[in-house]
């Protein structure tokens, strides 16, 4: 059988790869893609905890968390990409470092 640790290490690795993408990528669409990776890492963790530690027929916490995370991921992608498209329309760039209008 697979021990819980394997899933947790996989999720940690995926999360860190996503974080690297968020910190290092120039293109803001690529930054959003990396955020998707991080959210998926969280989902793996939640389902692994459900399977290994909270497997009862009445507790649906893990399921509800995952399903709400789907909704959050959808909302985040939709609004994030809309902001990028809107910024692209007015400034003709999608590089994250060029979005400086709010800089003090």
């Amino acid at each position: 059988m697979i021990p819980l640790s394997w899933y947790l290490i996989l999720a940690a690795l995926l999360f860190c790869i996503g974080l690297f993408g968020v910190l290092a990528r120039k293109n803001s669409v690529a930054v959003l893609m990396s955020v998707e990776l991080m959210l998926n890492a969280v989902n793996i963790n939640l389902l692994a905890f459900w399977r290994y530690l909270y497997l009862t027929s009445t507790a649906y916490n893990g399921f509800v968390f995952v399903v709400v995370l789907f909704a959050v991921a959808a909302a985040e992608t939709a609004v994030g990409l809309a902001i990028i498209i809107s910024a692209y329309r007015s400034r003709k760039t999608v590089a994250a470092e060029d979005f400086t209008a709010l800089q003090g």
Partner: protein, 118 residues
């Protein structure tokens, strides 16, 4: 892992392998005589100018966005529909409220003209 998934996995591999094998076989059987004119990109007989880049309409994004939101909505509605037989009337009405809220979003999109293809 439930045993059905093992069948699905094997079946998917077969489903991928059959067309791939046929395409490979046809590649072995067919002639291979490439030349620069034949291999050029199709464009009504005129040589391609510029990169493969055309400006896309924001309309595509709007439809993709509506699809995403409604898709996630159905993810919530699937457990509701599966449990429908045992749900009390109150819970059914909760589901209907859920649908109506999303219908409000659709009406908003309709009103601002996001649904018409220009």
């Amino acid at each position: 892992m439930p045993s059905e998934w093992i069948y699905i996995g094997i079946f998917s591999l077969i489903a991928l392998a059959l067309p791939a094998a046929a395409i490979l076989m046809a590649g072995v059987l067919g002639p291979k005589k490439p030349n620069p004119i034949k291999n050029s990109t199709y464009e009504c007989g005129i040589e391609t100018t510029g990169e493969t880049w055309v400006q896309f309409r924001p309309q595509y994004y709007i439809f993709g966005l509506l699809f995403l939101i409604f898709d996630v909505e159905t993810v919530f509605l699937f457990p509701w529909a599966v449990g429908y037989r045992v749900l009390p009337l109150f819970a059914v009405i909760e589901g209907i409220v859920f649908i109506l809220i999303l219908l409000g979003g659709l009406l908003y999109a309709w009103r601002v003209g996001a649904l018409s293809w220009q």
